[in-house]
């Protein structure tokens, strides 16, 4: 092996070093999350952190943000040794953080969340008007003047919440802004917005630490890259644009990934029609949607966040009740608004928000994996823990879950690994139709390829798949047939081979330019 620590000579960033970590170690019971991390961040640069799920990226930034105290190692902040006792201390020192898991207070307003902990006050009273005004400014800067500062965060969609946590980071006079997978819940155009803001920030000399599993984003916005693997820095300060992709992947994973999307089966003999949706409508969310999925077919839905994709999926699954239209499985009409009926008919759904919609955070991994199937392994109402663990082990292997100990609480898993648990749940049992809502959110490149493989092999076994993803390449690469949704309507349907990324993007974006116009 070559020396893993390759300090790149390319010194593209001129700014002085604001942050330096040396040999930082952080252990949790049974896991060495950080095992000697080196990191150097300069003023005015976008420093990207790369690494597989569970490599320690989020742990590292929590150390910087004062959430975790490192066991050993040095943190040098603006030339002086620093140790942040709590998040407030880090913020006062000028480090603002956007966490991977949203940490908003649902029952406070947008403005109150943005200024949580540092509300502008006079004589002990919060200056509400001033706070609302500044929030409005920040939101406008983020390209979202339409979000009302007074709205409760509970009533915002996932993407809106992400904007609010960005607004919170911008509300500080920070010298370093850390973003942990900010783009995971953002639509394509939102990511563009985010990048514009990042450029503004760095132009002012503010440093940004940026975490993402999407390499193309790192190419676009990053200056230098530090790669973590198993809690160690395996490469520091690589030039973000010049380093070959496979080099990055190899340093992250210790191996190469030859192909990402599995090949489609040559013979176009998809089976009988499995799902048929006719004229499904929920006012304000989607209207008159008709589609079909055949056995063994993967159908992808592309569209912006807010185009009604997730709502459509949830309605097909019975989690929401349609105002009009029918859902049929294998020719039989399903009772509207009944998840039980959908599950009995062979449907399974991996929902969009893993924390609030899918996981029992305090329960062991294996019980989360078998949450939808434990009844099937039971005899006379008595659960079969051995069988459950065996099945969960199988899933954990096929999705490269780490750490592999399936008795740990799900809460202690990294974000990407939690996502694998959510998807893995429906790989068990005899699901005939799989509804996947952003299945690869936060999943690293290696595991992503595994996941695609698993989905394709399910389809080969005759399972129908309906896939929603914000990543157009994912929809085009994995699906056999593509539906494009805009403002609650299906505007295009085509075999995946006959449509390309630009066409999809054009279709998807067209609506966002003419706000409110009927599609």
């Amino acid at each position: 092996m070559t020396n893993p620590l390759v300090a790149a000579p390319a010194d593209t960033v001129a700014g002085e070093v604001v942050l330096r970590l040396t040999d930082v170690v952080k252990t949790f019971p049974g896991v060495r999350a950080l095992d000697g991390v080196q990191l150097e961040v300069r003023a005015g640069e976008v420093h990207c952190l790369l690494g597989q799920n569970g490599a320690g990226k989020s742990t590292l930034i929590k150390v910087l943000a004062g959430v975790h105290r490192p066991d050993s190692g040095e943190v040098e902040w603006r030339g002086e040794p620093a140790s942040f006792a709590n998040p407030q201390a880090a913020m006062r020192a000028g480090i603002a953080t956007i966490y991977q898991e949203l940490d908003l207070v649902e029952d406070l307003s947008v403005a109150e969340n943005a200024f949580l902990g540092h509300e502008p006050r006079r004589l002990g009273f919060v200056r509400r008007g001033h706070m609302a005004r500044r929030t409005r400014q920040i939101l406008a800067r983020l390209g979202h003047p339409e979000i009302p500062p007074g709205r409760l965060v509970r009533h915002l969609p996932a993407a809106g919440k992400q904007i609010v946590s960005m607004a919170r980071a911008l509300s500080h006079e920070a010298r370093l802004i850390i973003m942990d997978e900010p783009s995971a819940v953002l639509a394509h155009d939102e990511v563009g917005n985010l990048f514009r803001i990042i450029r503004e920030l760095t132009a002012q000399g503010i440093a940004v630490i940026y975490i993402s599993h999407r390499l193309e984003e790192i190419r676009e916005i990053g200056d230098r890259v530090t790669v973590l693997k198993d809690g160690r820095t395996t490469a520091a300060n690589l030039p973000a644009r010049a380093t070959p992709t496979n080099d990055l992947v190899a340093r992250m994973t210790g191996r190469t990934i030859e192909y990402v999307f599995p090949e489609r089966p040559a013979d176009e003999t998809a089976g009988a029609e499995l799902l048929r949706v006719d004229g499904l409508t929920r006012p304000g969310e989607f209207a008159d949607v008709s589609l079909a999925v055949r056995a063994g077919e993967i159908v992808g839905i592309a569209g912006l966040v807010g185009s009604g994709r997730s709502e459509l999926l949830e309605t097909i699954y019975g989690a929401r009740r349609a105002q009009a239209g029918t859902v049929r499985m294998g020719g039989r009409t399903l009772r509207p608004g009944s998840v039980g009926a959908a599950v009995r008919a062979g449907m399974g759904m991996a929902p969009e928000e893993r924390k609030s919609q899918a996981l029992l955070l305090g329960e062991p991994i294996y019980r989360n994996v078998t949450l939808a199937t434990f009844g099937r392994y039971a005899r006379l109402g008595f659960t079969d823990a051995g069988r459950e663990r065996a099945e969960a082990d199988r899933i954990a292997d096929s999705l490269e879950l780490r750490p592999r100990d399936i008795r740990r609480p799900v809460r202690t898993l990294s974000g990407g690994n939690q996502q694998k648990v959510v998807v893995g749940r429906w790989l068990l049992g005899d699901t005939r139709l799989l509804l996947l809502d952003e299945p690869t959110r936060g999943v690293d490149v290696g595991a992503r390829a595994e996941l695609y493989q698993v989905i394709r092999s399910l389809a080969a076994r005759g399972v129908g798949v309906l896939l929603v993803s914000s990543e157009v390449p994912e929809v085009l690469g994995l699906a056999d047939r593509v539906l494009v949704m805009r403002e609650g309507r299906v505007v295009r349907e085509a075999p995946a081979g006959e449509i390309d990324e630009d066409t999809v993007l054009d279709l998807v974006m067209a609506g966002s330019l003419m706000e409110g116009a009927p599609a």
Binding site: R32, E216, N246, A319, G381, F382, G477
Partner: protein, 370 residues
């Protein structure tokens, strides 16, 4: 976005040996430690650790007893007899607490348990019911308990009332009905079988203690070994996730309150037997004892976690305190103060243990600023 997800050719793996995925698991080495630690953490390990803490608390209480009344504790047969007294004292509330534990783990609360016990007790001791003999009395107590519990459940799951409100209303209504039926009189039980339950000993141990043991064992099996128990944890831990996993959350919620009501029916028979009578004011404030016992036993008030063994230890700790005050001839007022203190301490411990430090800090940050 021309460059999409990477497609790395093998020959470009600069300096890194091409490894096949199964071999390349540095994590396997990493996960050795958790595997060894898992008995401690896995499957209810946190609960087990907490239960050790409760046992330690119990031990401290016994030591206090020994220090304050060395004269009594010197006598082995008194100690045995006193232990049985404590267990007997715990038995009725214990049965109610098992049902309560299920309800709380399932994300609810049942304030009506004391009232259900009273209603079931009064119902089964009316002249009309007593004419059917012991079988009729037991049957009616269980049926009334179950039925009232199911009404709670219906109001909450299908009527979408908040559990606190629904069971608070039931608490008032059931006591009212009990007073109405009994005409505010104490109804004496004339059935020798019923009256004999509380005074019977089997192998030197009161029958009531066996009943408690049976309910606790049944509750433990139900919670830890059946699909019903798993659904309870899921429904309480994350109702949305449970629903999307295909669990019928409403029906399950209904059943949970039914179960709690059934436990109250059992408790009503035990209590009626102890007093050889029933009245509308019986089982006063049992809801508080049962909730408090479940909470100090480690059941999370917000749902999703709790253990039957912890709840049992909670009940026993409370009756040990009562007993401690009794053998020292102290007032019930002082006793209630101590109980209150213990509840607060238990909840504080719960916050620190269950939330990771992160959550704890964030919660503080959020609350300190709102």
């Amino acid at each position: 976005m021309s460059e999409t997800t990477p497609t790395a050719a093998p020959e470009r793996a600069a300096g890194l040996p091409a490894q096949s995925p199964p071999v390349d698991r540095a994590e396997t080495a990493k996960s050795d430690a958790p595997a060894r630690l898992s008995w401690w953490r896995g499957d209810g390990g946190e609960g087990a650790r907490r239960n050790l803490g409760l046992l330690a608390t119990l031990l401290v209480l016994v030591v206090i007893g020994i220090l304050t009344r060395p004269d009594l504790y010197g006598n082995a047969s008194w100690v045995w007899g006193n232990t049985l007294t404590i267990l007997k004292l715990a038995s009725v509330v214990g049965v109610v607490t098992v049902g309560m534990t299920f309800v709380i783990i399932g994300g609810g609360i049942d304030l009506s348990v004391g009232a259900i016990v009273a209603l079931a007790g009064v119902w089964c001791t009316t002249v009309a019911t007593q004419s059917y003999g012991a079988g009729g009395m037991i049957f009616s107590a269980l049926t009334v308990g179950l039925a009232v519990g199911l009404v709670n459940g219906l109001l909450i799951s299908y009527g979408r009332l908040v559990p606190f409100i629904a069971t608070l209303a039931m608490m008032v209504a059931a006591r009212g009905l009990a007073a109405e039926i009994s005409d505010k009189q104490t109804q004496v039980s004339n059935d020798t079988f019923i009256n004999g339950i509380a005074s019977t000993n089997v192998l030197g141990i009161p029958l009531l203690v066996y009943i408690l043991a049976a309910v606790v064992v049944a509750g433990w099996v139900l919670l830890n070994r059946t699909t019903f128990g798993r659904r309870t944890v899921a429904v309480g831990g994350n109702p949305e996730a449970a629903r999307l996993a295909g669990i019928n959350v409403r029906r399950h919620t209904l059943l949970l309150y039914g179960l709690s009501g059934l436990c109250c029916g059992i408790a009503a028979i035990m209590l009626t037997s102890q007093a050889t009578s029933a009245q509308a004011a019986m089982a006063n404030l049992y809801e508080l004892d049962a909730i408090a016992a479940a909470i100090i036993g480690g059941t999370l008030l917000s749902g999703g976690r709790g253990t039957i063994v912890g709840s049992l230890l909670g009940v026993i700790i409370f009756s040990t305190i009562t007993n401690l005050f009794a053998i020292n001839g102290l007032s019930t007022e002082a006793q209630n103060m101590v109980k209150g203190g213990i509840i607060v301490a238990a909840v504080l411990v719960q916050q620190v243990q269950f939330g990771s430090l992160t959550q704890f800090l964030r919660r503080n940050r959020a609350t300190s600023t709102t």
